[in-house]
C-alpha cells in the first residue's frame, strides 16, 4: 500500500512539473548576458534597451531574462546556467565572451547563441556587430573642425580590431578637415571604470588635448570635460544629461531592430547562423542630436552621415596609408569587411604604438 502511494505521489509530482514547465515553454525564452551594469548608460544600457524593445513588441510571445555584471572569466558558468534554464536564444554581449559562448554552444546544440562583436561562428552561434567606425568618421570630422589645439584625446580599453578601427576611422575623418590633426591615446585596460576614465581624461586635457573621444562605457570622461569647459563625444548612448555644455554629439547604438528581427527568426523557424554587421544604414549606429556646435559644422556632419547612410561614402575607402608607410586598399574602393574586422594597424598620423 505504502509503495503504491509513493508511486502515485511521484507520478503526480512528475505530471505537475511537466505541466508547469510546459506552460512556461509556451513563451519563447530569450536571454541576455551583459558584461557591465544596465545602468552604465553606455554599452550595456543600450543592449538592455534593445531587450526592452523586444519585450514591448513581442511580449506576448517572448519572455526575456538578463544577467548583468558578468565578468568574462566567470561567463562560462553564467551562459551555461542560462542554457540549462531553458533559454532558446542567448545573446552574449561582449567580445570577451567569445570562447565561453562557443564552449557552451557545443554542449547545447539546440540552443541558439548570438555573440556580439566576435568573429567566430558555429552552426548554432552567430556573431553580430555594428559598424561603429561609421559614426567615428563623422565625429572625427567634427573634432578636427572644433579643436583649437589640433589634438584630440582618445580613451580606449583594449586593442581589439573594433577599437583600432574606431581610432583609424576617427583619424581618417579628422584628416579630411585637418590633415595634420593629432590624437593622444590612453589605454585604460577596462571597458568600464569611471575613476580611471576620469583620470585619463584629466591627463589628456593637461597634455594638450581639448576634445575627448572614448571607446569605454562610462560618462566620467565627459563629466571631466564639462567641468573643465572642454568638449567631447558620448559613447553608445546620448550622454547629454551628464555634460549639457560639453557634448557635441554621441554615437548611439540601437540594437532593437536587430534583436526583434532575430527573435522573429527564431519564432518563425528561419534562424540561421550568420555573421551580421549592421551600420548607419540599418539604424543600428545613430548619431545623437548635435549640440554646442555652430551651424556650418552641423551641416557638414549631417551631410557626411547622410552620405555614409546611403552608401555614397565609406570611411575606409582606399588608398589608406598605414602608420608604417605601406598602403592598404585600392583607390576608390572600400576595404574588404575582413580587413576592417581584423584591423591591427594604425593609419598614418597616429603617434602611438599599438599595444601587443
Amino acid at each position: 500500500m505504502k509503495k503504491l502511494l509513493t508511486c502515485a505521489a511521484a507520478f503526480a509530482l512528475a505530471l505537475g512539473i511537466a505541466a508547469g514547465s510546459a506552460s512556461a515553454q509556451d513563451k519563447l525564452k530569450a536571454c541576455w548576458i551583459y558584461v557591465g551594469a544596465i545602468g552604465d548608460f553606455g554599452w550595456t544600457y543600450e543592449h538592455d534597451q534593445g531587450r526592452l524593445a523586444v519585450e514591448k513588441e513581442l511580449g506576448d510571445k517572448v519572455q526575456t531574462v538578463f544577467v548583468e555584471n558578468v565578468a568574462e572569466s566567470d561567463s562560462e558558468r553564467a551562459i551555461e546556467r542560462l542554457a540549462r534554464d531553458g533559454c532558446a536564444i542567448i545573446f552574449t554581449t561582449s567580445f570577451g565572451f567569445m570562447e565561453p559562448t562557443l564552449k557552451v554552444a557545443k554542449k547545447f546544440p539546440d540552443v541558439k547563441f548570438e555573440h556580439a562583436t566576435g568573429f567566430k561562428t558555429a552552426d548554432n552561434v552567430t556573431t553580430y556587430n555594428a559598424k561603429f567606425h561609421e559614426g567615428r568618421y563623422v565625429i572625427g570630422q567634427i573634432a578636427a573642425k572644433m579643436s583649437q589645439t589640433g589634438t584630440a584625446g582618445y580613451i580606449v580599453s583594449f586593442p581589439i580590431p573594433e577599437v583600432v578601427a574606431g581610432i583609424n576611422a576617427f583619424m581618417l575623418g579628422a584628416q579630411t578637415v585637418k590633415p595634420d590633426f593629432k590624437v593622444k591615446i590612453i589605454w585604460v585596460n577596462s571597458w568600464y571604470d569611471p575613476g580611471k576614465e576620469a583620470d585619463a581624461a584629466k591627463v589628456l586635457f593637461s597634455q594638450g588635448a581639448d576634445i575627448i573621444v572614448q571607446h569605454t562605457d562610462s560618462t566620467a570622461a565627459l563629466q571631466v570635460a564639462e567641468e573643465q569647459g572642454k568638449h567631447g563625444f558620448g559613447q553608445a548612448s546620448d550622454m547629454i544629461k551628464f555634460a549639457p555644455k560639453a557634448q557635441y554629439t554621441a554615437i548611439v547604438d540601437n540594437w532593437a531592430p536587430y534583436y526583434v528581427r532575430r527573435i522573429n527568426d527564431v519564432l518563425n523557424g528561419t534562424w540561421k547562423s550568420q555573421s551580421s554587421w549592421d551600420g548607419m544604414a540599418e539604424g543600428t549606429v545613430n548619431i545623437a542630436p548635435y549640440t554646442n556646435l555652430p551651424d556650418d559644422v552641423v551641416k557638414m556632419a549631417t551631410e557626411t552621415a547622410e552620405a555614409i547612410k546611403t552608401g555614397k561614402l565609406h570611411p575606409f575607402t582606399g588608398p589608406i596609408t598605414k602608420q608604417d608607410g605601406t598602403v592598404a586598399g585600392e583607390a576608390g574602393k572600400p576595404l574588404a569587411d575582413g580587413d576592417i574586422l581584423g584591423m591591427n594597424w594604425y593609419v598614418k598620423g597616429v603617434d602611438d604604438q599599438l599595444p601587443k
Binding site: 555584471n69 591627463v203 601587443k356
Partner: protein
C-alpha cells in the same frame, strides 16, 4: 593651465580618497582592531552620499549621509567583533561583501543619473585640504594627547590597559566608528567629487589599497600621506606616459601602482625591527575581559 600643475592636481584628487580611508583605518588599527571591511564601508558611503545628494539636491547632505553610512557599517562591525568577539578578519571580509552587495542593491535606482557635485572653493575641493587637516589632527591626538596614549595602549596591550582600568571595548568602539566614518567619507568623495555619479562597485578596490597603505606607512600618519600620494602619482604617471608615447607596455603601466604597493610592503616587512616597532602588538587579537 600649466601641464605639470594639472597633472599634480590630478594626482592629489586621486590620492585623497585613499588618504581619507587610510587615516581612519590607521586609528582603528592603532586601537588593536583589524578592520578588513574598509572597502564595504567605502562603497556604502559612496552610495549613501550620492543617494542623499540626489534625493535632496544638496551635496552637503550627501557628505553627512556618507559619513553616517560608514559609521553604521562600522557599528555593525563593532557589535560583531567587540561585543560578540567574533573573528576580526572573517567579520571584516564579510562586511566588505555585504557592503558591495547592499550598495549595489540600494543604488540601483541611482544608476545613470548625473549627480550633484560638491562645489569647489577657491578652485579647490574642500575635502583635499580637509584630508591634510584630518591627518594632522590624528597625528596630534595619537602622539600628543592622553586620549591618543590610551588608544595606543589599548592597541599595544589590551590586557594591561584593562588592568589599569581603561575601558578597552569602549575605546575600540569609538575608534572603529571613527574609521568607519572616514571610510564612508572617502566613498562619498568618490561619488560626489571624483566622478559625480553612482555605479556599482565604484570604489574599485581602493579600500584594499587603503589597508595596504596603513601597513606601508607603518602606522604613522605622515608616512600615510607619502604612501597615498606615491600610489596616486604612479597611477596618474602611467597615463601621462601613454600620452607621451613612452615605449612601455600599457598593461604593465596600469599594474604599476599595485606592484609598487606590493614592493613597498615587501621592503618594509623585510626589516622586521621596523615593522615590529610600530605595529600595534594586540592588532587583530580578540579581547575578552577576564573578570
Amino acid at each position: 593651465m600649466d601641464a605639470s600643475l594639472a597633472v599634480l592636481l590630478t594626482i592629489v584628487t586621486a590620492a585623497t580618497p585613499l588618504l581619507l580611508a587610510a587615516i581612519g583605518e590607521l586609528v582603528v588599527e592603532r586601537s588593536g582592531v583589524l578592520n578588513l571591511g574598509v572597502e564595504g564601508m567605502m562603497v556604502m558611503g559612496a552610495v549613501a552620499g550620492f543617494g542623499a545628494a540626489f534625493l535632496t539636491g544638496n551635496p552637503y547632505v550627501g557628505v553627512i549621509a556618507a559619513i553616517i553610512a560608514g559609521m553604521a557599517m562600522a557599528l555593525l562591525f563593532g557589535l560583531l567583533t567587540l561585543t560578540l568577539v567574533s573573528n576580526q578578519v572573517a567579520t571584516g571580509l564579510s562586511l566588505t561583501l555585504l557592503g558591495l552587495g547592499l550598495s549595489g542593491l540600494l543604488g540601483e535606482s541611482f544608476v545613470g543619473e548625473p549627480g550633484a557635485r560638491l562645489p569647489k572653493y577657491f578652485g579647490v575641493d574642500m575635502l583635499i585640504p580637509f584630508s591634510f587637516i584630518l591627518t594632522a589632527a590624528v597625528a596630534y591626538v595619537l602622539f600628543r594627547t592622553k586620549a591618543g596614549l590610551i588608544i595606543r595602549a589599548v592597541g599595544d596591550s589590551h590586557n594591561s590597559a584593562h588592568a589599569l582600568g581603561y575601558r578597552v571595548i569602549w575605546v575600540r568602539y569609538l575608534c572603529v566608528l571613527f574609521g568607519g566614518g572616514c571610510a564612508g567619507l572617502a566613498g562619498g568623495y568618490l561619488s560626489l567629487v571624483y566622478t559625480p555619479q553612482w555605479v556599482e562597485n565604484m570604489t574599485a578596490g581602493r579600500g584594499w589599497i587603503a589597508l595596504a597603505l596603513v601597513v606601508f606607512a607603518s602606522w604613522m600618519p605622515w608616512r600615510l600621506v607619502a604612501g597615498a600620494y606615491l600610489f596616486g602619482a604612479i597611477s596618474i604617471l602611467s597615463f601621462v606616459g601613454q600620452t607621451r608615447a613612452w615605449d612601455i607596455p600599457t598593461q604593465f603601466m596600469n599594474s604599476l601602482p599595485y606592484l609598487g604597493t606590493i614592493l613597498a610592503l615587501v621592503v618594509i616587512s623585510a626589516n622586521r625591527r621596523l615593522t615590529r616597532m610600530n605595529a600595534p602588538a594586540s592588532l587583530g587579537q580578540a579581547f575578552v575581559p577576564d573578570r
